[in-house]
Amino acid sequence: MVTLSINNINVEVPEGTTVLEAAKKVGINIPTLCHFEGKKPLGACRVCLVEIEGGRALAASCSTPVAHGMKVFTNTKRARSARKTVVELLLSEHNGECKTCDRNNDCELQNLAYQMGIEDIRLKGEVAKPHIDKSTPALVRDNGKCIKCRRCVTVCNEVQAVGALFPQGRGFSSMISPAFMSDLETVACVQCGQCAAVCPVGAISERSHIDDVWKALDDPTKMVIVQTAPAIRAALGECFGYEPGTLVTGKMVTALKQLGFDKVFDTNFTADLTIIEEGTELLMRLKDKIVNGKKVALPQFTSCSPGWINFVEYFYPEYTENLSTCKSPQQMFGALAKTYYAEMLCKDIDEIVVVSVMPCTAKKFECQREEMNASGIQDVDYVLTTRELAKMIKQAGIDFTSLPDSKMDSPLGLSSGAADIFANTGGVMEAAIRTVYEIVTGRELPLENLHVEPLMGLDGVKTATLKIEGTQPDWSFLEGVELKVAVAHGLSNARKLFKSIENGEEYHFVEVMTCPGGCIGGGGQPRFTDDSVRQKRLAAIYAEDEGKELRKSHENPDIKRLYERYLGKPLGETSHHLLHTHYKKKEIFK
């Protein structure tokens, strides 16, 4: 342990702690921009400068380790004015208009300028040129607003192991961008939006569908229905001042109704459906291998995270057969809304507009994939991120905090707790295990609270083994089999998992979520998401699950009805047409 003083307050911290972290411990917040939780400090932005007694120059607190007897001062005139100059310099090069910026009121640079009392920008420098990149369905980049903090580079390279963004060139004319300062579409970007989630300013954002959705809502000839992903309810509240991890399911439904959506449905419903289809698919693959001696692709990979699909298609195309053919819950919903539901109402599909609210930017890409039009037209029309929904609620003048609770509509709104946990890393796997185990043995999963403990939490790669005993006659070939599963979140962890598979590790089923923490940490969630926020959202989702009477997907009565009335059986012909898809190899270089 090391003892030091910060602003004359003594503090004891483990060796290797940075001055920044030590200050936080005693309630002193030093501003940061390039700092990235859990990653090697860059020391690039200098906005975290502090004075250390005996040191000639000011020190960047994010990259200065504590030392015994060190005396740190964060609030001297010198330190304050140095930090102020750094921010002023950034503002002098910044090409943005706060009042019309996507990040107005939600911008770290704007915040810093306010905090530091900058009223006038004395420095007049060359202003960065605007350079707007709208080449992808998911994201918009504007290099004019970029302050070159490189957080997006860190997240894209180290957390996601994709490497689409990197500083290009040098000096003032350098840019944080894809290869050769070109557009994002020219490189292998998976559209996860983690760069947009960590960007402190308005330089990377989701491509807004807000105007399109208002237009649909304003059109009296359209029936506009909305589905909400499980992760929204545990995060939307943050945009209205609630603590992270506050569940706002009921208020969210009321808000959506007040916005004018004709029906408010739940992506959870098709999450339950996904479990039935995907669980059956896994059992079929196992049967084909063990009983029929066929060559089948194992492990089976989950397929609900579109960034992960892109990742496999770009970087591991030899594994596309391993991906479950199940569409994601968003796309299953879209397909059913424009077939099953439209037929139920005797509506023309052109009259129905399907909007999704997703924690994800890659969903904007997914809904535009050419495979996603089982109804004959694009199944899901528009995708709003959690942040965009919050904006619409504000635009409509709805006082969110005082809203009463409402319930989702029928018949695409009822769901089990197993569907809720799709939002969490490890959740899809747990939901699948709850159902598969019961199908095979006829008994409930014998685990406390139905949770598969080793698959919970924020470890990057998690594994579990489950011995199957006492099988039903149909499934006797699985008697005594040890079901081995693995879970990864954040694509750098997916790479680790691939490595272990290539080294001979054998799994039956693997869940990968593109974003750290799973969907609760998606690229479209309220900013700023760090591990403590992730933990709280995870806990909220598990609470939502445990609070439900219905905990298993196969017990959802509306799902049973859907099979009876419409789909026939899991993996049947109608299912195949509406709920399943295929994948392709994608070129990395374009």
């Binding site: 390279n157 490497g163 060139g169 040098r170 290869a179």
Partner: protein
């Protein structure tokens, strides 16, 4: 590794042949940390510049994202992704040439060719560079076009020199056209 002409036919190797050659060399850098810059240097020596597909090959083989590879290339001014022109124009900026107006000659060349130092004209004919003393200080200022030296160059004479090479090219084109 140097770029040798084929001893038998003395033909320049094609870019495809070089690529195959380079792929073999690249194997030596696989799995070695810090291999990117040496690999790029070798490639530049071999090809004279860094073609896109070479950068893509490096990215794949060394398992470094393409954007990072191009980021490194664009950070260092000694890397270029544009093929060198047929005529390499080099301006001496050694002390003697500098004192006697080498800088003005350079400025005149930049204007005439419409490129900066390190650049290549869009028709691929000329590249412009500077050098330190070509050993002809008595005849300063000096410029070299490939292996030919031009002495006591005045800014006004620059166009004449460049036109001389342009004329050669015109003749070649005409001959080819028959």
């Amino acid at each position: 590794m140097s770029l040798e002409k084929c001893p038998e036919c003395s033909k320049e190797p094609t870019e495809d042949e070089l690529l195959a050659q380079f792929e073999e060399i690249l194997d030596g850098y696989v799995g070695k940390p810090g291999g990117l810059i040496p690999a790029l240097q070798t490639a530049q020596k071999l090809f004279g510049y860094l073609p896109k597909r070479v950068l893509q090959l490096i990215s794949m083989k060394l398992d470094i994202p393409y954007s990072e590879v191009t980021g490194v290339v664009s950070f260092y001014s000694f890397f270029t992704t544009v093929p060198k022109g047929k005529y390499m124009v080099r301006v001496c900026l050694g002390t003697a040439c500098y004192v006697r107006g080498g800088k003005d000659v350079l400025a005149a060349l930049e204007k005439e060719l419409e490129i900066g130092v390190g650049g290549t004209t869009s028709d691929g004919l000329f590249s412009l560079d500077v050098g330190r003393c070509f050993g002809a200080c008595g005849l300063a200022p000096v410029i070299m076009v490939n292996d030919e030296t031009h002495q006591r160059v005045k800014p006004e004479k620059v166009k004449e020199i460049i036109d001389f090479y342009r004329d050669i090219e015109m003749t070649i084109i005409k001959e080819k056209a028959g």
